[in-house]
Amino acid sequence: MAEPAQQHRLSAGLARRLMGDWRVVVGGSIFAVLAILAIGASLIAAIDPLEQDLLLELLPPAWVDGAEPGMLLGTDSLGRDVFSRLVHGSRIALAVAVVAGVLTATLGTVLGLVAGYFGGLADSVISRLVDIWTSFPPVLLAIILVALLGTGLHSVIIAIVVIDWTRFCRVVRAEVMQQRRMDYVDSAVTIGLGRIAILFREILPNILPLVIVLLTLEMGIAVIVEAILSFVGLSLSSDTPTWGGMIAEGRQVIHQAWWVMSFPLLMVVVTVLGFNLLGDGLRATLDPTLRR
C-alpha cells in the first residue's frame, strides 16, 4: 500500500504526463466542448430546436447567399434551425456515449473477470458466448435488437450493451489470466483474502487503466451506433434532435441542401476522432506496457 503522500506525488506525475500527450489534450478538449454543448444547450442555442417554420425551410448557412440572419448553419426541410438541433443533439450523443459506455464496460468487465479468474465451466460458457456473439455482424444484431425492443433511447442503450460487452470481456479475461499468475495475487492468498476480495480489491485496480482506455473507445463506438440506429429510423422520434436523425433527414434533401447532412456528419466524425485520440493517448500514458 502506498503512503498518501506518495500517492499524491504519483497522481501529480500522472497528470503531467497526461497533459504532455497531445492526443489526450486534443481528445479531452473535444470531449469537454461536447460536454459544455450538452449541458448548456439551451443557453448556447437560443432558437428552439423543435420550432418549425415552413416559410424558412432549407435556408443555407450564414455565409451563403439567401441566408437568414441568426440561422448560423441554415435550416432543415421543416424550417428548424440546424445549429440549434446540432447543439441539442449533442445531449443525446453524450448521454448514449456515457451511459451505454459505462454499462457496457461494467457488464463486459465483470464477465471477463469471472471468466479469467475462475476459469473452468464459467470460462468455457462465457468464452463460447463471446465466440458466438462476435461471429455475427454487429450492425445487423443492433438493428434486430432495437426492432424487437421498440424504438427509444433505452433500447439503443440496451442494444449497445448487449452487443459490445464482448469487447471488454475478451480483453479483460486475457488480462486477468495474466495477472492471476503474478506474485501479488499469491501474497493476497497467503494473508487469507477471499477470492472475491482478491478479484475486486487486488486484480481489478490493476486492469482498470485498460478498462478506461477501452471505455473511451467504446464511447466513440456508442455515438456511431446511435447515429446508425437513428439513421435507419430506429432510435428516437424526429421530435428529439439527434445527429443520426438529422443525417437521415439530410440524406433525403441532399440535392437541395447539402448543409442539413454535412454538419451533423461532421459532428459525429469529430466526436469519434476525439474519443479515439483520447483513447490512444490514455493507452500510451496510463500504462506503457498495455497490450492491444
Binding site: I143, F231, M261, L265
Partner: protein, 334 residues
C-alpha cells in the same frame, strides 16, 4: 489438409447453428407480434388466430424451431410475411448484388491495404511513413457508414462525379440472364453496361472497403517490418535486388498470413456492413432486404437471411483456410 478443412468447417457450422438458435429464440421471446403488423385494423380474433396457425406461431418455440429446421433442410424457408413471396427465391434474386458488392469491396480493400503497407515499408523510418500511419489511424477510427455518407456528400453532391443510388441506371436497356450483373456484363463484353455498373458501384464498394483496407495496412505493415529483418531478406539484398523487389518478391508472401487471418475475421463485419451501405445507396441487395425484414418483423425472411449470412461466413472461413495452404508451402504437405 482435407481433415483440417473439414474440422474448420464443422466448427464454423456449429458456431453458426448456435447463432441461428439464439436469434430464432430472441425474435420470439421479445414482445411484439409480427401478425399484428400485417393485419388490417378490425380483423377478428379468429382471423388473427388463423394467421398465427398459418405461420406456425401458435406452437411452442421448440416446436417452431424443429418445424422450421425440418423444412429448412429440404430448402424450404417458407413465405415472407411482409412481401408475400417465397423466401428462397426472394433471397436468391437479391444475393448476387450483395455478393458482387462485397467482393468488389474486399478486392479494393486488399489492393489498397497491400499498396499502402508496401509504400509504408518502402519509406520506413522516413517522413512519408508518418503520413501513411496518421492517415491510417483516421481511416481506422471512422466506420463504413460515415464514409458512405461523406462520399455521397463529396462525390455525389458537392463535386458530382457519380450517381449515388441504385445498382444500375434503369434507362439502360439490357436483358440480364442472371442477377450477377457485373460478371455477366464482363463476360458478354458490354462496355457501356460495365461502365454504368462501375459508376454506381465504386462509392459503396470503397466506403465498405476502406476500414478493412486500413486494418490490412496496419497488420501487413507490422508483419512486413518483421519479415524485412529475416536472413532471406538480407540474402536478397546481397544478391543485388532493389527494395521494392525485396518487399514484394521476398517479404510479402511470408508476411501475408497474419493479414489474411484478419481479413477473414473482418470479412464478417464487411458483410454486416453491406446492410447499412446498401440502405444508404439504395442498393438492391440482401442487406437492404434485411433492414426491411427486421423493421417489419418478417420472421421467415429474417431467419432465411440469417442462414444466408451464415453460409457466406462458413464459405469465407473455408476460403481463408485454403489461402493459408497456398501461401504457406509447409501446410500443403502437413
Amino acid at each position: 489438409m482435407g481433415a483440417f478443412l473439414l474440422r474448420r468447417a464443422v466448427e464454423a457450422a456449429l458456431t453458426l447453428i448456435g447463432v441461428a438458435i439464439v436469434v430464432f429464440v430472441l425474435v420470439r421471446v421479445v414482445p411484439g407480434d409480427p401478425i399484428a403488423m400485417m393485419i388490417s385494423p378490425g380483423a377478428s380474433e379468429a382471423d388473427i388466430q388463423a394467421l398465427r396457425a398459418l405461420y406456425g406461431l401458435d406452437k411452442s418455440i421448440l416446436a417452431q424451431f424443429f418445424i422450421w429446421a425440418g423444412h429448412a433442410v429440404t430448402g424450404d424457408f417458407g413465405t415472407s410475411i411482409s412481401l408475400r413471396q417465397n423466401v428462397v427465391s426472394l433471397i436468391l434474386s437479391r444475393l448476387p448484388a450483395t455478393l458482387e458488392l462485397a467482393a468488389a469491396a474486399t478486392a479494393l480493400a486488399v489492393a489498397l491495404g497491400v499498396v499502402f503497407a508496401v509504400l509504408g515499408i518502402m519509406w520506413s523510418r522516413r517522413f512519408p511513413e508518418k503520413i501513411i500511419d496518421g492517415f491510417n489511424g483516421v481511416v481506422l477510427a471512422i466506420p463504413d457508414f460515415i464514409w458512405a455518407l461523406a462520399f455521397i456528400l463529396l462525390f455525389g453532391v458537392l463535386f458530382p462525379l457519380a450517381p449515388i443510388s441504385g445498382r444500375i441506371d434503369p434507362r439502360i436497356e439490357f436483358e440480364f440472364v442472371t442477377n450477377f450483373y457485373f460478371v455477366e456484363a464482363l463476360l458478354r463484353g458490354e462496355i457501356a453496361v460495365l461502365a454504368d455498373l462501375f459508376a454506381h458501384g465504386w462509392m459503396p464498394a470503397l466506403a465498405l472497403g476502406l476500414p478493412l483496407a486500413a486494418i490490412i495496412t496496419r497488420v501487413l505493415k507490422g508483419s512486413l517490418d518483421q519479415a524485412m529483418v529475416e536472413d532471406y531478406v538480407t540474402m536478397a539484398r546481397v544478391k543485388g535486388f532493389g527494395r521494392l523487389r525485396i518487399v514484394v518478391g521476398e517479404a510479402l508472401q511470408n508476411a501475408a498470413i497474419p493479414a489474411l487471418t484478419i481479413t477473414g475475421v473482418q470479412f464478417t463485419f464487411l458483410v454486416g456492413g453491406t446492410v447499412l451501405i446498401e440502405k444508404i445507396f439504395s442498393y438492391p441487395g440482401i442487406g437492404n432486404l434485411a433492414i426491411d425484414a427486421v423493421i417489419n418483423r418478417d420472421l421467415p425472411l429474417i431467419q432465411g437471411l440469417i442462414v444466408t449470412f451464415a453460409v457466406i461466413f462458413i464459405f469465407v472461413n473455408l476460403s481463408v483456410d485454403m489461402m493459408y495452404a497456398l501461401l504457406n508451402p509447409r501446410l500443403r504437405h502437413g
